[in-house]
């Protein structure tokens, strides 16, 4: 009997404490209707619930003193609830962070029309359950930002036909499910031009995440850039089989440097490779690197030449404004597939926004002269990069690295990948699984 009594006492004490506290915090808000408006606005504003609990009494008083009718008439019914589902934490140094920059941008651009919310670190097989909960909470537009979310998003799209879904990096579409992607291959090509000019050993390294078309495409574009200015140089690839693994990326970079590589590019969501390059530079071995996805110049001010940056916000602004104006609705997304590049301003060249090339490297790049492959005139690599950047940024790009001009693009095993005068289109690039001929290394397992 005794232990039961004690347990009961403990339980009662905790219950009483809980009730007492929450009664105190709940007693304050006056009429019911006012509390509701407050909770919806705060709840959607992506902030933690801290604000919901501590603020109601105060916010309520302000809303009451301000004319409440005007507020209700102008906005509430039209605000679209937009949710973002992320695979990683927003504090990572790459993918999820870049998407969250986009989310915050649309939140500020469409203040009166949308309210945004995000769910971070969602395990990929559990995405369908998360989407179900978000739909239940009244979200009308949901972005899912990882390839592994594809099947779950499609399932949710079929089940909730009144909600607009957008999935990043996948290929499954539905009447209310569109896809979008900002690809970096043009930037990798531009980085490749610079890498080819800067390597002294003729060996350029690439630390690669997973053997999937996206990464293969980037390696190929990079290698084509290297080849264009330095036909003898080779690109050495090491796979780390992870999107985020600073330890493995570091080890891979070090092993590449040990093989004689002196310029590094990578696909991995941490600045580990740049940190390695910066350490070698400090020790007197100059190794240069290209930033990936986020502004990483500050991690290697002496070694970051340039890099690839993404502006998801340009895609998000386009999608949201088309949803607001009614261009996109829940019935017409089956063919909506964004494949945005330089000309749409979805990506930017540089190790930091506004710094396309680290000033430190401008002189060596200006001193390195090559023959431009189309016109045959002599040109510095710096001018070549700027010219190609301009050509690819035009509304109808007049240059693409995967277009073969005078010579064919040959794959590693000697097959012709692109015949002169032809280009690889979106479909072909989207599923490319072979290396070009100046890449050293192989694509693991089963891929043809």
């Amino acid at each position: 009997m005794k232990p039961q009594l004690i347990l009961a006492l403990v339980v009662v004490a905790i219950v009483a404490g809980g009730i007492g506290y929450s009664a105190g915090s709940l007693a304050a808000p006056p009429p019911k209707t006012v509390t509701q408006t407050v909770t919806t606005t705060v709840g959607g504003a992506t902030v933690t619930l801290t604000t919901t609990v501590t603020q109601p009494p105060r916010t309520v008083t302000t809303t009451v003193t301000a004319p409440p009718t005007t507020v209700t008439v102008t906005k509430p019914p039209e605000k679209i609830k937009v949710a973002f589902v992320y695979v990683g934490p927003i504090g990572d140094y790459g993918w999820t962070h870049a998407h969250d920059v986009g989310r915050r941008y649309i939140e500020s651009q469409f203040k009166d029309r949308v309210e945004t919310y995000y769910v971070e670190s969602v395990e990929e097989p559990k995405v369908y359950d998360v989407l179900k909960k978000l739909v239940n909470e009244g979200y009308k537009v949901i972005f899912t930002t990882s390839f592994g979310f594809m099947d779950g998003t499609l399932q949710a799209a079929k089940e909730f036909p009144n909600v607009i879904f957008f999935h990043c990096s996948g290929y499954e579409r539905w009447s209310n499910l569109g896809t979008y992607f900002a690809d970096l291959y043009q930037l990798y090509y531009l980085n490749g031009l610079m890498a080819g000019a800067l390597t002294k050993s003729g060996k350029v390294g690439y630390v690669a995440a997973h053997p999937i078309p996206e990464v293969v495409r980037h390696i190929d574009a990079f290698a084509l850039g290297v080849k264009e200015v330095n036909p003898k140089a080779k690109v050495h690839v090491v796979w780390i089989h992870a999107w985020y693994d600073p330890a493995k990326a570091r080890a891979a970079a070090e092993s590449l440097i040990a093989q004689g590589v002196d310029v590094l590019a990578f696909t991995e969501d941490s600045p580990a490779v740049i940190e390695v390059a910066q350490e070698y530079y400090k020790r007197g071995t100059p190794v240069y690197a290209f930033a990936h996805y986020s502004p990483m110049l500050k991690f290697g001010p002496d070694v970051v030449v340039s890099g690839q940056l993404v502006r998801w916000e340009s895609i998000y602004v386009d999608i949201i404004s088309k949803i607001i104006t009614g261009v996109y609705n829940t019935t017409n997304l089956r063919n909506v597939d964004y494949w945005w590049l330089l000309s749409e301003n979805a990506v930017e060249l540089g190790g930091d926004f506004g710094v396309p090339i680290n000033p430190k490297f401008i002189t060596p790049l200006k001193n390195f002269k090559v023959k431009e492959k189309i016109s045959g005139t002599e040109i510095s690599v710096y001018d070549l990069v700027m010219m190609r950047l301009k050509q690819m940024s035009e509304p109808r790009p007049s240059f693409d690295p995967f277009c073969a001009v005078n010579e064919p693009i040959i794959s590693q095993d000697g097959k012709v990948l692109v015949r002169p005068g032809e280009c690889l289109g979106h479909e072909a690039l989207w599923s490319i699984m072979s290396f070009v001929d100046n890449v050293v290394g192989s694509i693991p397992a089963g891929s043809s």
């Binding site: 005794k2 809980g18 801290t50 501590t54 971070e120 097989p125 909470e137 290929y171």
Partner: protein
């Protein structure tokens, strides 16, 4: 003056035992509510969304069931091995191989029609899990190799086997080079009947009965319990250790494989890389479920549902309440720890004396 004494309890009624469990569970919830209050959230709101909503909203309950079923089925298998004193942690890998076998069946016999096709896929899954568990079983039974190591290592081999298949021979030509297999044929997909996953739930309940019969009603179950309580006595009574080790691991492997086949046919419908895959780490959660159930088949029902509810609650915390991952971990920790703490109150009692 008060004097509190903690005394060992030698007998306990089932009623008291279960009320201690319930009380400790409620205490855990209350402590978590208190933490939410400190965190700055409205505890009523949090508690109603976490623990009332899943009971009132069917859509929310479904999520709990979707996790509870595979966890429960694997926990049942583990119950048997743990009873024999063999500590297998290989459910995760056995589940993965079960899914591979079920997927192979689905691709190879795509012409078979629903009722039969699903039975075949589930049986194939069970067979896959069984075979995968057999190797550690043989090593344990013949050479007395530590099963904790072998079963754990076999999980990683199973992941690699999946990787080999999805990057290699089974890679879908229509997945744009992504490491995914083709979706399994429609005839192999288990669809809920009127929104209720009948097949999953009934498989789980049948498994509970089956495991109860094995442990409590069969001679083999008796031998297993004998090994668990006193291996030396069991050995001298002529019970073959090889048989116990082999069968225990094989049966638990079959249960895990069955869970893997169910996950493939009813949730994921194709194989993908580890992080997107059918196992979702549930094979490890099942270990917790088995021990929470005190290795009693009946108790696996509530323990699996509890763990399913915790996963569901974790998603609610992130997706509905907008709180960070850390809060999810706190919830899991506080509630599970409270339930484990119940052991103390079951084994000991407090005596309060008033001294003059």
């Amino acid at each position: 003056m008060f004097e509190i004494r903690i005394l060992r309890r030698y007998e306990i009624t089932n009623k008291l035992k279960s009320s201690i469990y319930v009380a400790s569970f409620i205490t855990g919830i209350l402590i978590f509510a208190l933490i939410e209050v400190i965190y700055g959230a409205n505890p009523y709101d949090v508690m109603s969304k976490l623990f009332v909503k899943p009971l009132t909203s069917y859509a929310d309950l479904q999520i709990t069931i979707r996790y509870a079923v595979p966890i429960g089925i694997m926990a049942l298998g583990l119950t048997l091995t743990y009873k024999s004193g063999i500590y297998s942690i290989g459910s995760e890998g056995q589940m993965a191989v079960g899914a591979i076998f079920a997927a192979w069946t689905a691709y190879a016999f795509n012409y078979i029609e629903p009722p039969t096709s699903i039975v075949i896929a589930l049986l194939a899954g069970a067979l896959g899990g069984l075979l995968w568990a057999l190797v550690p079983g043989i090593l344990k039974g013949l050479l007395n190799v530590n099963e904790v190591l072998t079963t754990l290592m076999f999980n990683f081999i199973a992941y690699s086997l999946t990787d080999y298949l999805i990057y290699g021979p089974w890679r879908s030509p229509r997945a744009y080079g992504f490491p995914l297999t083709e979706p399994i044929p429609k005839s192999y997909v288990i669809l809920p009947t009127d929104g209720i996953p009948v097949i999953n739930i009934s498989t789980f309940i049948l498994s509970v009965f089956l495991m109860y019969a094995i442990i409590k009603k069969s001679v083999f179950g008796y031998q297993v319990r004998a090994y668990g309580s006193n291996p030396t006595a069991a050995k001298s009574a002529g019970i073959s250790f090889l048989k116990v080790a082999l069968l225990c691991l094989a049966i638990s492997g079959a249960f895990a494989g069955l869970a893997g086949a169910l996950q493939l046919t009813s949730v994921h419908n194709r194989l993908g890389p580890k992080s997107w895959s059918v196992t979702e780490g549930l094979g490890y959660t099942a270990i917790v479920s088995a021990w929470l159930a005190r290795l009693e088949p009946w108790f696996v029902l509530p323990s699996a549902i509890l763990l399913g509810a915790l996963i569901n609650g974790g998603l609610t915390i992130k997706a509905v309440l907008g709180q960070p991952e850390g809060v999810v971990n706190i919830m899991n920790g506080v509630i599970l720890l409270s339930i484990i703490a119940a052991d103390f109150f079951i084994n000991y009692r407090f005596v309060i004396k008033v001294r003059e």
